[in-house]
Amino acid sequence: MTDATTDPFDRDDLPVAPGATGSLLRSLLRAHRARVALAALVLLLQQAAVQAGPLLVAYAIDRGVPAFRRGDHGPVVAVAVGYLLCAAAAALLQYAFVRGAARINQDVLLDLRGRIFRHAQALSVDFHERYTSGRLISRSTTDVESLRELLSEGLQELIGVVLAFVYIAALLLWLDLGIGGVAVASFVPLYLLVRLYQRRAAVVFAERSTAIAGVIVKFAETMNGIRPVRAFRRERANDAVFAELNHRHERSNGDALLEMARYVVGSRLVANTAVAGMCLWGAYRVAGGTLALGVLAAAVLYMRRLYDPIDRLGMFLNSYQSAAASLAKIAGLLAQEPGVPEAVAPRELPAARPGIPGREVVFEGVRFAYRTGGEVLPRFDLSIPAGQTVAVVGSTGAGKSTLAKLLARFYDPTEGRVLLDGVDVRDLSTPELRRGVVMVTQEAFLFSGTVAENIAIGRPDATREEIEHAAKAIGAHDFIAGLPDGYDTDVRKRGGRISAGQRQLVAFARALLADPAVLILDEATSSLDVPGERAVQRAMDTVLAGRTAVVIAHRLSTVEIADRVLVMEDGRVIEDGAPSDLVTGEGRYADLHRAWRDSLVG
């Protein structure tokens, strides 16, 4: 359907404007600016409370001990009270921060999930056909999940680590310039290590995410096609293919873990060397009598804390890497312009003429080509009077479905306009458009929920009577009543097995309930048996009488009820007329009709 080789869709790599990832993250956080600031402040105070401990130790050793020896208990009591207060404050602030941060995180995720979902729903059918469902699903699940990890664990960690670094480095500098100097100097190799790790990990992570995507696709495809898998004994062949994909992921997974190990060794070495250096310097000065013992003790305690979080920094980098990759993919998806945008200044359809529920359809100078260039429908004009039933026939690829999709506004024409009672369909709001035009397709998909809910998609405010009435009109009532819970049977649960033909009947009931002015049937009767097809025709003659209908069908039996037949070939209408006129001629339709007659008699 599209040129497959150079299409960015095939590489799962939609173009992203530079900086789009960052601006997406910023726009997600913007709404919560005040709360982010508050959370940061809480964390700032919490760290202050936590880092006060060693200072109190210094105070206790250098002031408390001598004072106590003099009989002055004041400083020791002060230390006790101070420690108590700091501990309580640290805990309370910690509690407040975790809850506050979780609230921000969850709001951001809710926002992001909603954005992806809404955007995906707004994108055109054309986009969905090319992007495939698996990718969309992994965008809104695994990719959101990796951002969740970054936000809930990573970011918190990063802020904590940075704050601790700043606090402790400042305190060390304040306690003793030399010791603080060593600490600050150690940040240079640490920073280089982090950068190195980041660079190397990015490569490994990219490979790992490609590998897991391969695993997911194979997995989902096998489970969704489990019947043919079993019937054609593909189990062993699948095991082998899966083993290979799985092994590739195992390798890259192991590589990622090893990369982390390298980082840990490097950073620990730097940290421990720095600690030894600081101890040397401090002890040297205390021994020389230029530094108080308590200060050394405090410095030693701080040093331990200073480098405690470097492992966690690595974990943060981990989640940052994968979240960055995911965000880039999400940003690429969100950057896709909906090919079929909603009307900016929606217009209403003119009031329906009394007695004629259908509406007039006009294709005015319409041409349609894919963005990649392939022309499907060359420029044409077509007018369907209100209330007319038009059958469109022709072989696969003749452009029948494209015609229907233009009318249903699944696509917009490349040139020209599609008019409904004189109003361009692009100017109609979605609800107004769907009151006007409804399309029933070959794939009758059922959503999880009850049968009644599935029919009610046609008109959500319909009563149970109206739903049952629609089902009866299409001949679906009997089988629905025979399900374990009747209309309340969950289609995804036990007893809810519904055949392809039954699903198409439900899809029709949906369309009847929607009661549109223009009904499009795109191969919508393919799985129906003859009585089912009859019921559909009856419904079109009775319940839907007077509606404008466009029927695309393989079966000429469906075509016979049409007022007019269009025969399409290579995107052009080559025959146009009443079926009785065409059948007597020597054209394509007469050929098709003869072939069909022959197939009936065998």
């Binding site: 359907m1 206790a60 050793i61 001990v65 230390v79 420690y83 501990a87 809850r99 809404r118 729903q121 495939t132 699903i137 699940t141 999940e145 809930s152 997911i216 696709v217 997995f219 495809e221 489970m223 969704n224 019947r227 043919p228 898998v229 079993r230 019937a231 593909r234 799985n246 195992e250 873990l257 620990r268 940290a271 030894a276 101890c279 040397l280 002890a283 021994a287 003790a297 030693v300 026939v393 072989s395 696969t396 699944f410 609800p431 769907r434 029933v440 397709t441 794939e443 998909f445 089988f479 036990r494 055949s499 191969e523 799985s527 009585p531 097809e533 019921a535 393989h554 098709l592 008699v601």
Partner: protein, 612 residues
């Protein structure tokens, strides 16, 4: 709601430890490496406890004596200890990196293998999203558990113990002061663990539900758009997403609480120890170096104690993940069936007898007990080389009946014989090699067109078979027009084909292996009239020497068959030729022409059939 099944699984006696213990068979092959890594981690962790002792030696020795030269030695010791610690921690990670990635991969491969072999009835009840999340996120959690919480719960326990021994040996009163908070911490942690488990599981299931909505709204995008239902879909999505959010917030509340406690309790103990220690130093009962070392040790122990909270949370999540994993793994596979009787040479060569259904009944395993069976005492004989059309109203059980032949579903009563051989006594592999199926919904896999079709053939089938099969299905021309012909990739990761094109490839797949028995479920429904006529002509040739069961919805397909069986309310109501049934059976006449029982006008079909 798909998540409901989660609730009743939370029986009161569920225990994280018991769930996690089930991982043993997977850990067993790497137990040596894992144990070595744990040992290394313990040594490394205890090294960090030695550092305060070196400090003490420095403070009470060279520093107290004012011997600046002496501190060099101390610093050297510290450096050596530090280098050793760093290398050991790196060594630990190196030891387990590959093996644990291997454990994850093995578990995933086992899951995939098992899922491929579970009864179709199982797959009918499980959304693929729920299965997929078990194969990805859950296994990742398990791997992380094996790498961190499992090791560090052990390492930290040993470190804490060793630390306390050190503390108590230095000064037992101060040591006891630091020891007191351990009891409330342990109690709180276990309390937390049980509560957290429930919420964690809830969150995981809600993620599954959310995935289902996303999946459906993508798969059903044409319906959502066709009826302009974006808003209501978005609302449903929002509701689920908000429910997940509140569960996540409940999780955060629990975490916040436990962290606050884990922060405050040890801090208070250290504060108390500091005050007491200061007094003791002032009284001269304790050396300053000991106090520094003591506090330094206590602080070194703070991280192992603090981390218990998140280690337990991770373990809990891993336990839930393990539970979800084994929920699927505990399902029973289809039995492969008895080995083929090749070892028994006196087995008579199979008599060509066609397909026989003898008193076959079927009800879905999950159907309520009072529901009537889907198929009830079916007796049917398809003679060798004969093609039998199966006709019946919508939902009469036609597709179910076809699924019984290759044992995709198991007949609950009676038996099915292929050439006189009971299919339940055949090896499934062999049965499915004998019977070839084209399904109502043609599924193509991510592979080339050629590979998709040749799946239906025995090993070694190649170009000629492929060309013949594509010819039968009238697919040769459109396949030749594809960018790379039969080598073009199709399926989820390739070119998307129209319904009719997919159906023709599925038909080619069914006939490519020249199967002895052929089951076709409404094989021509998506074809246009012209193509249908051509396919029928070619298919007639194939059906001539194949025993076939063809589900038919319309007269044109019935015409492929020698005889027709009418399935009505789970029973075979009539068998005969098309014309016999058309004349003698009102239901059949109605199904084929829409006349009779229905009040339709049906002139086209009526005429077409009466002309014969």
């Amino acid at each position: 709601m798909p998540g409901e099944h989660a609730v009743d699984k939370d029986s009161p006696d569920r225990s994280a430890v018991r769930s996690l213990a089930r991982l043993w068979p997977y850990v067993r092959p790497v137990r040596g490496r894992w144990a070595a890594a744990a040992a290394v981690a313990i040594v490394a962790s205890c090294l960090s406890l030695v550092i305060p002792l070196v400090l003490k030696w420095m403070v009470d020795g060279p520093v107290a004596e004012g011997d600046p030269g002496g501190v060099w030695l101390g610093a050297l010791y510290l450096l050596l200890l530090g280098v050793a610690e760093a290398l050991l921690f790196g060594f630990r990670r190196w030891l387990v990196a590959r093996p644990l990635a291997g454990v994850e991969a093995r578990m995933r491969a086992d899951l995939f293998r098992r899922l491929q072999r579970l009864p179709i009835a199982f797959h009918d009840c499980w959304a693929s999203g729920q299965l997929l999340s078990r194969g990805t996120t859950d296994l990742m959690l398990v791997r992380m558990f094996l790498a961190f919480p499992l090791t560090f719960l052990l390492v930290n326990a040993v470190t804490i113990l060793a630390g306390f021994v050190l503390l108590l040996s230095q000064d037992w009163t101060l040591g006891l002061v630091l020891l007191t908070p351990v009891v409330p911490l342990v109690v709180l942690c276990s309390l937390f663990e049980t509560k957290y488990a429930v919420v964690a599981r809830q969150a995981q299931d809600q993620v599954g539900d959310l995935t289902t909505v996303v999946e459906e709204s993508v798969l059903g995008i044409r319906i959502v758009k066709g009826f302009g239902r974006h808003r209501s879909q978005a609302l449903a999505f929002r509701e689920l997403a908000e429910r997940l959010r509140s569960t996540e917030l409940a999780k955060a509340r629990l975490l916040a609480g436990i962290w606050a406690f884990i922060t405050v309790v040890p801090e208070l103990a250290i504060g108390a120890a500091l005050v007491l220690g200061t007094v003791q130093v002032a009284d001269g009962d304790l050396s300053a170096g000991t106090l520094v070392a003591f506090l330094s040790t206590a602080l070194a122990l703070r991280w192992p104690v603090e981390s218990l909270g998140f280690l337990l949370a991770m373990s809990q999540e891993a336990a839930t993940a393990t539970e979800r994993y084994f929920e699927v793994m505990d399902e029973r596979e289809e039995t492969p069936g008895p080995a083929s009787p090749a070892s028994v040479p006196e087995t008579p060569a199979p008599v060509a007898d066609g397909v026989r259904f003898e008193g076959v009944s079927f009800r879905y395993p999950d159907a309520p007990a009072d529901a009537p069976p889907v198929l009830d005492r079916i007796d049917l004989h398809i003679r060798p080389g004969e093609t039998l059309a199966l006709v019946g109203g919508t939902g009469s059980g036609k597709t179910t009946l076809t699924a019984l032949v290759p044992r995709l579903h198991e007949a609950t009563g009676g038996r099915i014989l292929l050439d006189g051989e009971d299919i339940t006594l055949m090896e499934r592999e062999r049965l499915r090699a004998l019977v070839s199926v084209a399904f109502e919904e043609p599924t193509l896999f991510s592979a080339s067109v050629g590979e998709n079709v040749l799946m239906g053939a025995a090993e070694g089938a190649a170009e000629p078979e492929l060309r013949r099969a594509l010819g039968v299905a009238q697919a040769d021309r459109f396949v030749a027009a594809l960018p790379e012909g039969a080598a073009t990739q199709v399926g989820e990761q390739g070119l998307s084909l129209s319904g009719g094109q997919r159906q023709r490839l599925a038909l080619a797949r069914a006939v490519v292996g020249r199967p002895r028995f052929l089951v076709l479920d409404d094989p021509l429904s998506a074809l246009d009239v012209h193509t249908e006529a051509l396919v029928e002509a070619a298919l007639r040739e194939v059906l001539r020497d194949t025993t076939a069961l063809v589900v038919a919805h319309r007269p044109s397909t019935v015409m492929l068959a020698d005889r027709v069986a009418l399935l009505s309310q789970g029973r075979i109501a009539a068998v005969g030729t098309h014309h016999e049934l058309l004349r003698a059976n009102a239901e059949y006449a109605w199904l084929m022409s829409g006349e009779g029982a229905g009040e339709g006008d049906g002139e086209t079909y009526g005429k077409g059939n009466e002309e014969r």
